[in-house]
């Protein structure tokens, strides 16, 4: 057993453990954090496959952005655990069949002749990123652009569906605030300080008298 195999099994065990805890953890925030752990160890496995671009972008996009927003929402919600767990036994057979199907598919794919054997080892100066970029912008440019447009449409649709402005909500008008000049808010008055002080003294003297 060489070093790479040991690292693989460590990451694989970590991924399976974290993934199990995602669905068994009682606290939704803990579950989300276990999902983060699963992503990180998955990135480790991809790194072993020499897919450094995918590994790092998994951490960058999913762990660094998506899961942060996910946690953001989960932390703010008051989740009723009893309600979430309701119907667990009723849906278990369906879930088990689905899980079995996925395991079968994976074994089938991994066993087929196309994927047998490990990945081809490359020299140290081989850049996975460059290769991926070349493929995306030449051979797969249309699928790539279409996928991007579909994502954009989904984003616009989500915003259009949820963005309802309340009529009685108060908010600042930012362009007006930005357009404000110093002269609009501040008036400088010229006055000689000596005179002012003298007047003040005089008035107090009058009061004293």
């Amino acid at each position: 057993m060489n070093f790479e195999t040991i690292v693989f099994y460590v990451f694989a065990a970590l991924t399976v453990f974290a993934a199990l805890r995602v669905i068994t953890a009682r606290n939704p925030v803990h579950a989300a954090l276990f999902l983060v752990l699963a992503f990180c160890s998955m990135a480790g496995i991809w790194m072993l496959l020499e897919a450094e671009f995918l590994a790092i972008s998994l951490v960058l996009v999913y762990v660094g952005a998506v899961m942060v927003l996910f946690l953001f929402v989960v932390m703010m919600l008051e989740i009723n655990l009893a309600q979430v767990r309701e119907g667990f036994w009723r849906w278990l057979p369906f879930g088990a069949v689905l899980a079995g199907l996925m395991v079968f598919e994976m074994v089938w794919v991994l066993d087929s002749s196309r994927t047998s054997g490990g990945p081809i080892k490359h020299a140290a100066d081989y850049s996975n990123t460059k290769e991926l970029g070349r493929l995306i912008y030449t051979d797969y440019v249309y699928p790539f652009e279409i996928a991007a447009v579909i994502l954009l449409v989904a984003m616009v649709a989500a915003i259009a569906l949820t963005s309802r402005r309340r009529k009685d909500a108060k908010s600042q008008v930012i362009p007006e605030q930005v357009a404000v000049k110093k002269a609009d808010r501040l008036r400088l008055v010229k006055m000689s300080s000596d005179n002012h002080a003298q007047q003040k003294l005089d008035s107090t003297a009058e009061v004293a008298q």
């Binding site: 952005a65 942060v68 100066d125």
Partner: protein, 346 residues
């Protein structure tokens, strides 16, 4: 110097055999981390001194000559303070949070090159790795805010999460410009791309000047420093995400913030100010230049804090989403078009 290193390598090889490689790597890691921690300690003193002088005060001057032992006294105080875990908090996460804040801040140093040959890992995807590591730092803050079981801490964490996610996009696009100009994601190659006959005119500072500003300001926002310290905001939410932390757990957050500042200063110097390259052609390139540039950027960080009032939250979000992101996207297109013309000289 090189010969001495070679003799050391040879001796280690003979003594430890195949275990020598990990040991030697550990030695190198230590050689990077210990100076960083020292720099962090003295950056806190520099901050108090510099802001003191800017506000016509003296700053700390009691402990040691010119207050030079102040950081050590502060460290001792924090070390001996009790760590109080609040009731109703999630204990494991409460302790994990400061570690999660500091670990990425130190891990990012693995790919930072210090001169032509000195870098712990000469990664091809160094820039991506850095982006990933800096984006992980937010977990320390979020977990701290949630695990503390306190409103103020939670508000600080939520503010910080939104802020970091927003500014990361602008930061990423600024880096896209850098990697277009240098055609590489290796930090060493990025510095080499800025080498030329005209000294500082060859730096990416010139063609990517808007990106330099965006990167620097987003860097201030990413490290939660004033004027973007909404996550702490002591006038609104006491101390934000670390309000419940004391002793060493608090000290770790403090270390993480300053280590991140130094990291951003190094990265800005490497990507826009030519790293270790000399600003004038007739002087040799050296690590000293890099230190000088980093010190200048760090001074800017302290200067910002002494000068600007804290941003209002909606204005902070507006700056990130409506000003920086459009500017960076436009500049990506400008650079791409510029590089196709003969007027691109970098």
């Amino acid at each position: 110097m090189m010969e001495l290193l070679q003799i050391l390598q040879q001796a280690g090889q003979n003594l430890f055999g195949s275990a020598w490689l990990p040991i030697w790597t550990l030695v190198k890691i230590m050689a990077i981390i210990l100076p960083i921690l020292g720099a962090v300690a003295y950056l806190t003193l520099a901050e108090r001194k510099v802001i003191g002088y800017m506000q016509i005060r003296i700053g700390p001057n009691r402990v040691g000559p010119f207050g030079l032992l102040q950081p050590i006294a502060d460290g001792m105080k924090l070390f001996f303070k009790e760590i109080i875990v609040p009731t109703g908090s999630s204990k494991f996460l409460f302790v994990l949070a400061p570690i999660m804040a500091l670990a990425p801040a130190l891990a990012a140093w693995a790919v930072v090159p210090f001169n032509d040959k000195m870098a712990l890992a000469d990664l091809n995807a160094g820039l991506l790795y850095l982006l990933a590591m800096t984006s992980l730092g937010v977990y320390g803050i979020i977990i701290a805010g949630w695990a503390s079981n306190s409103k103020y801490a939670f508000l600080g964490a939520v503010r910080s999460a939104a802020q970091i996610v927003s500014y990361e996009i602008a930061m990423g696009f600024a880096l896209v410009c850098v990697l277009m100009a240098s055609q590489s994601m290796n930090l060493g190659d990025i510095v080499h791309g800025q080498h030329g006959r005209f000294g500082m005119l060859n730096w990416y500072l010139l063609p990517l000047f808007p990106m330099f500003l965006v990167y620097l300001i987003s860097g201030v926002a990413e490290t939660n420093r004033a004027p973007f310290d909404m996550a702490e905001g002591e006038s609104e939410i006491v101390a934000g995400f670390h309000v419940e932390y004391s002793g060493m757990t608090f000290a770790l957050f403090f270390l993480a913030e300053y280590a991140n500042m130094i990291l951003i200063a190094f990265l800005t110097s490497i990507m826009f100010l030519g790293g270790w390259l000399s600003p004038v052609p007739f002087l040799p390139d050296s690590f000293v230049w890099l230190l000088g540039k980093v010190s200048f950027i760090l001074l800017l960080f302290l200067w910002f804090r002494a000068t600007f009032p804290r941003y209002r939250y909606d204005q902070l979000m507006r700056l990130g989403w409506k000003v920086f992101i459009p500017i960076t996207i436009i500049w990506v297109v400008v650079v791409a078009a510029w590089m196709q013309t003969p007027y691109w000289m970098w």
